[in-house]
Amino acid sequence: MRRVVGGAISDAWWSVFGALGLSRARWEALPNIARRAVKASIWTAIGLVLVAYFGVWQWSALAIAAVVLVLVVPSYSRVTIGGRRVGRFIVPLAALAIAITYPFYAYTSTGVSPGLPQLPVFGTFPLMSTMVNMGIFTMMALGLNFVVGYAGLLDLGYVAFYAMGSYMAGWLASSQFSQVNVRFGGIGVIQGLTGIHISIWLVLLAAGLMTAFVGVVIGLPTLRLRGDYLAIVTLGFGEILPQVARNGNSLLGFNLTNGTGGITPIDPPGFGSWAHHHLGLPANYGALGTTFDRDYFWTVLVLVLVTIFCSARLRDSRLGRAWIAIREDEVAAAAMGIPLMRTKTWAYATGAFFGGVAGAFYASYNGSSNPDEFYFQISVFILVMVILGGMGNIWGVIFGACFLTYLNSEGLNNIGAWLNTHFGPGGSDVTLWHKTLDVPEYNFGIYGVILVVVMLFRPEGLIPSRRRAAEFHEGVHDQPLYDAAA
């Protein structure tokens, strides 16, 4: 399909260019840098036309810079300092710098960002709360990437890990178990509360470890299954855990999860008064007033960086190679001495760990863990992030997570508003429909369309790993020939 359509378009292109005297062979004979420069200019021209059309001239310079950077920067990636290839860090570091400073120019007490202009179609820049969500979902998508992207195991129940992490925070940092009074490093916690209050930093770690353990428990019986069967069983677990949470208000008379009410309030993070006085860190994020989102954002940024770091390190390790080998050919991997069950379980546990940490952080940010948040769609949503961005590629997954979270939180809203004011009832351009269109209503329909389009035209994702791209275009020969399950 992709080849047919893509081929037809490209043939059409080249017949036009051929008529102008530029044959495909001559184009391909040009040096790479020249081709990039030409492409960059074409895109810049397109960008300029768009900018002119939407009348936002103050953004043209930035837009051009961005386009040129994206198209030409791959040649900078070969820049070396002292033998180390530092060029490949340019884009990530620039992105990080923008992310760290974002709250300073985007933040106001009301949450709107007057310091930044309105974008055409997309409207305002993302709010801080959206940025925090992006971070949380990036962590989860990177966690799922261990399972789906590296080890090639389809997991449709990832939300179970998210829920597990969230409830760990609920149990270890709230007044849920008011029968007991436990405090451990409960810095920044309001005094005089009953229940278990453990420092949120320890809770994050505990939630990750506990979720990883649950991942192992779920994984041991299920990971023997192949492909579709595994997907169905994970789907089952993804439904079971939230159901347990929903109905866990009277387990043998014991109120474990507080049922549909959920556990609330959960302690916000904090560093305590000592760190506040001596290091200037916030004592309690809940007491920050209107700027609290900012600190959550920086905190989640640190967590995301840790996740990226672990992803990259593991990918290039003995274990990472084993995951990729299993994805490519299970039988050959087993014959090379890779214990399939153990290695898959590690992938599952690692993915679960980050899902758990993200869930615990989300609970702490939200101040509650509620069973209504853990529905099947979240599992699919995270999976779509991984697929859209590019399975197995860290940057692709991050992009997919940020982009879809943004669309879900406010992007669709903004686009819908723009569409309605221009084309809706009494639209300023032309009235195409006469009733206000509620674009966010159609969110999963829209993600579905995006997914179908990506699968047809770029099945390896927007920013694929080199290896994955090859797999999708050439195919892997992983015939399940043998009866080896272990």
């Binding site: 770091f309 672990c310 390190r313 593991l314 390790s317 003995r318 274990l319 990472g320 190679r321 084993a322 990729i324 080998a325 490519e328 050919d329 039988v331 050959a332 991997a333 087993a334 014959a335 090379m336 001495g337 890779i338 214990p339 399939l340 069950m341 590690w346 690692t350 290896r467 994955r468 090859a470 797999e471 050439e474 892997v476 020969h477 043998y482 009866d483 080896a484 272990a486």
Partner: protein, 261 residues
């Protein structure tokens, strides 16, 4: 009695439903020997191989390797004990580089754990560097000089076969199982490969078990030959004995093979 053989199977049997693919085969590979397994297509050679590597679990009988009973263990246990293998239809990790393929083969010989990999402890760094050096040596030994960073699928057919052997050698086997390694090779490549198999024994002290259809390879390099037909062992002996064996000629070699030698 001879010293214990490296590999011994007793009454090894595999049934698929009603079909007896391997029928109570007793078989040994002595330490340091090159043994060939021949027979017509469908005789059960590959099934037999798969039982020697744990890919199939035998219906009955046992596999004993270096004095240890391995029957029923998973494939990675066989690899850990020292049985390396290649596949009849090449099963490289097609989208990994040659070097990465070999590194995967070293999996069971490396120790690095998850936490160590994240922290990249000096021990793990040292181990990885060592593994890379060894992988390059193995590639060179297998005739894949300067092909470290070629993607598996981009290698020529002969090179893919060589890479499969290099990857199997990376598991540090005591016994190497080669499943029709010269299938699809031209006579020149086949001759080179035959020399290479002989070198495996002299240079690396390996025992080799070979499934092969090319009689020049079989007769040229083997110490012993075992013949399977319909899952049964019909003959066993030195190459010259096998060439004269009536049953083998009838079932497999055909009279032409005898006259051309």
């Amino acid at each position: 009695m001879m010293a214990d053989p490296l590999l011994r199977t007793s009454s090894l049997r595999k049934e698929f439903g009603g079909l007896v693919a391997v029928d109570d085969v007793d078989f040994t590979v002595p330490t340091g020997a090159i043994v060939s397994l021949i027979g017509p297509n469908g005789a059960g050679k590959t099934t037999f191989f798969n039982m020697l590597t744990g890919v199939y679990k035998p219906t009955a009988g046992s596999v004993v390797f270096a004095g240890e009973e391995l029957t029923g263990k998973p494939p990675h246990a066989f690899t850990e004990r020292g049985i390396g293998r290649t596949f009849q239809n090449i099963r490289l990790f097609q989208n990994m580089t040659a070097l990465e393929n070999v590194l995967v083969g070293m999996h069971s010989r490396l120790k690095g754990t998850l936490v160590e990999a994240i922290l990249r402890t000096p021990r793990v760094k040292h181990e990885e560097d060592g593994a890379r050096d060894r992988a390059r040596e193995l590639l060179e030994f297998s005739g894949l000089r300067r092909k470290d960073h070629e993607i598996g699928r981009n290698l020529s057919y002969g090179d893919q076969r060589r890479l499969e052997v290099a990857r199997a050698l990376a598991t540090q086997p005591k016994l190497l199982l080669l499943d029709e390694p010269t299938a699809g090779m031209n006579p020149q490549e086949t001759a080179e490969f035959t020399d290479f198999v002989a070198r495996l024994r002299t240079d690396l002290d390996l025992a080799v078990l070979l499934i092969e259809h090319d009689m020049r390879v079989v007769m040229g390099v083997s110490d012993r030959v075992t013949v399977l037909d319909y899952g049964e062992k019909i003959a066993e002996g030195t190459p010259s004995e096998i060439q004269k064996n009536e049953r083998v000629i009838e079932a497999y070699l055909g009279s032409a093979a005898v006259s051309t030698g």
